[in-house]
């Protein structure tokens, strides 16, 4: 079965009451990038994943995980 990188980005972001634009501004990317990561269209680099984890105050391995299928 093919593996893919899944994430809890949307859940965590809404939990903290942040919009995509606010999160994007926090990590220095555009809203489009946050949106594509949330929708699993784009796999972020390690640097960006770590920045997201820091901004959302969550361990990176909890924010991102591998799911199959």
């Amino acid at each position: 079965m093919p593996e893919r990188l899944d994430n809890h980005l949307k859940e965590r972001r809404t939990e903290l009451g942040l919009t995509q634009a606010e999160l994007a501004e926090l990590i220095g990317v555009t809203r489009k990038t946050v949106n594509t990561i949330e929708n699993q269209v784009f796999v972020p680099s390690t640097i960006l994943a770590l920045k997201l984890a820091r901004a959302l105050d969550m361990p990176v391995e909890e924010l991102f995980f591998i799911s199959s299928g």
């Binding site: 555009t30 990038t33 594509t36 680099s45």
Partner: protein, 177 residues
């Protein structure tokens, strides 16, 4: 030769005029860096397929000119305008866009997702250009093809394919954003 240079200069002046007009239109829009990057990013996503269509439709004009036996200065100007557009599109593909914007806006416009989409577009364009070379190679077995025509076809196909792919990826990325 002179008409080629005139066409090239005219093409570059036209692009510069468009850039200045775009900048003028935005003068009364107070926006933060993030808002401006969002606004320009969306506009770029809309512009890319349009640019690709304009670029590719120029090929029809080139083919018509080839069949025109009379070698006129206006033909040279049109061909050099194609060259000017090719150079600009190549620059747009390989460097950041919106050269007249502030550095922060340009950096944000060239974020990780954009770079990934652009790279994918360039990869697609390269594959398409190589496939075009293969097709032309087979054609030359049966019919001689002018070197200049080959450059024209390969460049147009490669750049056109890269722009369409990049534009499509950008539009997908902006969807629901």
């Amino acid at each position: 030769m002179k008409s080629f240079t005139i066409g090239l200069v005219l093409g570059l002046v036209a692009v510069l005029a468009i850039a200045v007009a775009m900048k003028w239109r935005q003068r009364n829009l107070p926006m933060s860096v993030a808002e401006k990057a969002e606004y320009l990013g969306k506009r770029r996503a809309r512009m890319l397929p349009a640019l690709a269509i304009i670029y590719i439709t120029q090929q029809a004009s080139y083919i018509t000119l080839q069949q025109d036996a009379a070698h006129r200065a206006v033909n040279d100007a049109k061909i050099s305008a194609w060259l000017a557009l090719s150079i600009i599109l190549l620059l747009a593909l390989s460097a950041k866009w919106f050269w007249f914007e502030r550095k922060e806006v340009r950096d944000l416009l060239d974020d990780e997702n954009t770079r990934a989409n652009r790279s994918d577009g360039m990869r697609f364009g390269f594959i398409f250009a190589m496939l075009t070379c293969i097709v032309i190679y087979f054609i030359t077995m049966f019919e001689p093809v002018n070197g200049r025509d080959v450059v024209h076809i390969v460049m147009s196909d490669g750049l056109g394919a890269a722009l369409i792919r990049w534009g499509w990826l950008e539009r997908v990325a902006h969807r629901d954003a």
